[in-house]
């Protein structure tokens, strides 16, 4: 009898990165079959995996091929299967000690131990202070989308290769840290910090984290004067005093780049080369969603559901569905969710055996929440 149990199943095609599965409950048992790995029987494949809540978060028991068609058992000890309940903001992961932040167009951050991040995760940095004139405290507190380089390195979309930034090393006076923002997109579209602006007949905006805008999104700007391009600000309006001036997103290049309809050819250049001395009280340039001009839902394409839900784009150009029903494109939506994550951890006995499989692997999963559990 299973009067109150919850059972769910589904499938996805692996990207090789951690896969989030949204459910109407938080399971206490997850199992999956990697059909592709099972069918090929190739060495390092993980055809089956199991997880019980009593094992703890981020682990899994697996079967893997240790040679062609020769199965053995093993475990994944980190980045395994994890459940989540994303209902409130301003929650952070463990504080990671940072040893190096480079001066580069996309600054590279090195952590002293494995960071456990996945591309598309969001972090804040803190303690990037060296002296009254050196260091990088200008970017402390900004949420950045990371692109993972390896287990102890990732890049952030911010140009620190400028005169007022000094590379951070372990000798910094502060205590450089990085913290993962656990649930950055519970509500969208919203506000995003601007990392660069390209002026022209249309205006190209780069953001520090995913903007989650769509074509037709109406946006406003908040550019503090020291960042330069104050003409983009929705107010003051010289022609019609008091009336905020907005722009529209006319193209979405990727997760952190959009093109806005405003002709900024004659505007002041954007300046992200802020000084260390400006930091107490330094406000950041922002782009803010204020509305939309859309009248339909997400476009239907081959393989998509008939009435797609709102989608978000944490990295690259890959979109993910929310658990909502169909919505107007650009509407303010709620993305609070729960479910489980199949991580990209590796088998303890074989670093080439990846839990979530290789890109294009087809995975069938089942998740349970049992009526009765002992303990």
């Amino acid at each position: 009898m299973a009067e109150y149990s919850r059972l769910a199943k589904g499938k996805f095609t692996s990207t090789g990165s951690a896969q989030v599965v949204n459910l109407p409950f938080k399971p206490d048992w997850v199992e999956f079959i990697n059909y592709t790995a099972a069918a090929s029987g190739a060495d390092n494949g993980v055809p089956h995996a199991y997880w019980d809540s009593n094992m703890g978060q981020g682990v899994a028991v697996i079967e893997r091929f240790q040679a062609s068609n020769q199965l053995t058992t093993d475990t994944v000890d980190t980045l395994g299967i994890t459940t989540f309940s994303a209902g409130q903001l301003l929650q952070f992961g463990p504080s990671l000690s940072v040893t190096v932040v480079t001066k580069a167009a996309a600054a590279q951050v090195t952590t002293s131990a494995a960071h456990g991040l996945t591309s598309g995760d969001v972090v804040i940095l803190e303690g990037l202070y060296e002296t009254a004139t050196t260091g990088m405290p200008q970017i402390d507190g900004i949420p950045f989308t990371v692109t993972v380089v390896d287990s102890t390195n990732f890049t952030i979309p911010w140009n620190t290769n400028q005169s007022n930034y000094t590379a951070i090393s372990i000798a910094a006076t502060g205590t450089p840290r990085a913290k993962k923002v656990l649930y950055p997109y519970l509500y969208f579209p919203g506000v995003a910090f601007i990392s660069a602006i390209t002026l022209g007949a249309t205006t190209t905006i780069d953001t520090a984290e995913a903007h989650n805008f769509v074509v037709g999104q109406e946006v406003a700007f908040r550019i503090p004067s020291q960042w330069g391009t104050v003409e983009l600000n929705s107010l003051p309006n010289l022609l019609t005093p008091g009336a905020p001036a907005y722009g529209y997103v006319i193209a979405v290049t990727d997760y952190n780049t959009v093109v806005v309809s405003i002709d900024s050819s004659a505007y002041t250049a954007f300046n992200s080369n802020q000084t260390v001395a400006s930091v107490p009280g330094l406000s950041f340039p922002q782009i803010v969603a204020v509305g939309d001009v859309n009248t339909g839902g997400v476009q239907i394409s081959s393989g998509s559901v008939l009435y797609p839900p709102p989608q978000y784009m944490p990295i690259g150009t890959t979109t993910f569905n929310t658990i909502n029903g169909p919505a107007i494109r650009g509407a303010f939506v709620n993305n609070t969710a729960q479910g489980f994550v199949i991580g990209s951890g590796v088998a303890q006995g074989d670093a080439s055996a990846i839990l979530v499989g290789a890109a294009s692997d087809v995975i069938y999963w089942r998740a349970y929440l049992h009526d009765y559990s002992s303990p």
């Binding site: 579209p189 908040r222 803010v288 107007i328 303010f332």
Partner: protein, 329 residues
């Protein structure tokens, strides 16, 4: 003489339930208080749409004497959409609990579910505002963090920003009276902030004659809200223990951590709370009759529908700050 004591004739029942339940510590819910409220009709689809006309350009160029009309203007509007979402939670209560417990378990669980639902409404609005409203970093304080602790000039800056944006204030002012220690209160926006900053307000240094005024120093406080702590410049301050705080999110030059507070300053209609067809408070009781062949378990649950939108983005700012005082424990 023999005295019969509880040592040889003890009470048969050693415990008695006190007549009233103890209170449940519950934060004040400020976010729902300051929202505009809109109800979507039943059968009204998934999305609530707001329309705001844009101002037309004032015709400041004279017509001259040519007799020719100036070109027409094209009226425009802004559209804001918000998608409805549904929430709920509940408890499964075995009939043996109801049968044997002496403290009216169904009554107090119902009450807790209702409060949980109302608190969820408030927390959703809180987090939505953190996600959607633009930010200003406090710089008027003295603690050296970015943002700094709140200073008088930060209040003045945010109030100036909202005034320049032609936001509507919530409250008209309170005229001064000849009462010792009191002072007049300006017409005001609201700031929604944390109870943890109250000691910072108490020790705020006045600048240019502007100072923090405790609510109990208002000339009269009949218009003060229960959670109102005081006033600075054109801002009246509502505090709650559930205000958004990013713990240890910033360090100073010495590597010492501080918390970052999201102090929301807003005018009228800045944020709107939307329900659908009054679907904002459903308490659902299902008798054990509906559970299994032995009818063992009753259920108590609440559900509600809610959407939210920034309906005047120019009338709201999150003023981020750190804290000057140490926290009590």
């Amino acid at each position: 003489m023999s005295i019969t004591t509880t040592g040889n004739l003890g009470p048969m029942i050693l415990q008695s339930l006190a007549p009233a339940m103890l209170y449940v510590p519950t934060p004040t819910m400020n976010y729902i208080t300051v929202c505009d409220k809109v109800s979507m009709p039943a059968n009204g689809g998934t999305t609530c749409r707001f329309m705001r006309p844009r101002a037309l350009q004032p015709p400041t160029v004279q017509l001259g004497n040519s007799g020719i009309d100036p070109p027409a203007q094209v009226p425009q509007r802004d559209i804001i959409d918000a998608q409805m979402a549904f929430f709920g939670t509940g408890c499964i209560i075995n009939e043996q609990v109801i049968l044997q417990d002496q403290e009216g378990v169904l009554a107090w669980v119902s009450e807790r579910l209702a409060v949980a639902m109302r608190q969820a409404e408030d927390l959703i609005l809180r987090d939505y505002i953190v996600s959607a409203a633009s930010q200003i970093m406090a710089g008027g304080g003295s603690n050296g963090y970015n943002p700094t602790n709140l200073g008088i000039t930060d209040f003045s800056l945010v109030a100036t920003t909202l005034d320049t944006n032609n936001a509507y204030k919530f409250m008209s002012g309170i005229l001064g009276e000849n009462r010792f220690g009191s002072g007049p209160v300006r017409s005001s926006y609201f700031m929604l902030t944390s109870t943890e900053l109250q000691s910072d307000f108490d020790q705020m240094t006045s600048v240019g004659g502007i100072t923090f005024l405790n609510q109990w120093n208002y000339p009269n406080n009949t218009s003060a809200l229960p959670s109102e702590y005081g006033n600075v410049a054109n801002i009246r301050i509502l505090t709650s223990s559930e205000a958004p705080v990013a713990r240890n999110a910033v360090q100073n030059n010495l590597g010492v951590f501080n918390d970052v507070y999201y102090n929301t300053v807003l005018g009228k209609q800045a944020i709107t709370h939307i329900n659908q067809d009054g679907y904002s408070m459903n308490l659902i009781y299902r008798d054990p009759y509906y559970s299994g062949m032995l009818a063992q378990n009753a259920t108590l649950a609440v559900k509600f529908a809610q959407a939210q939108a920034l309906t005047q983005d120019t009338a709201i700012r999150n003023l981020l700050s750190t804290r000057l005082s140490n926290l009590g424990v």
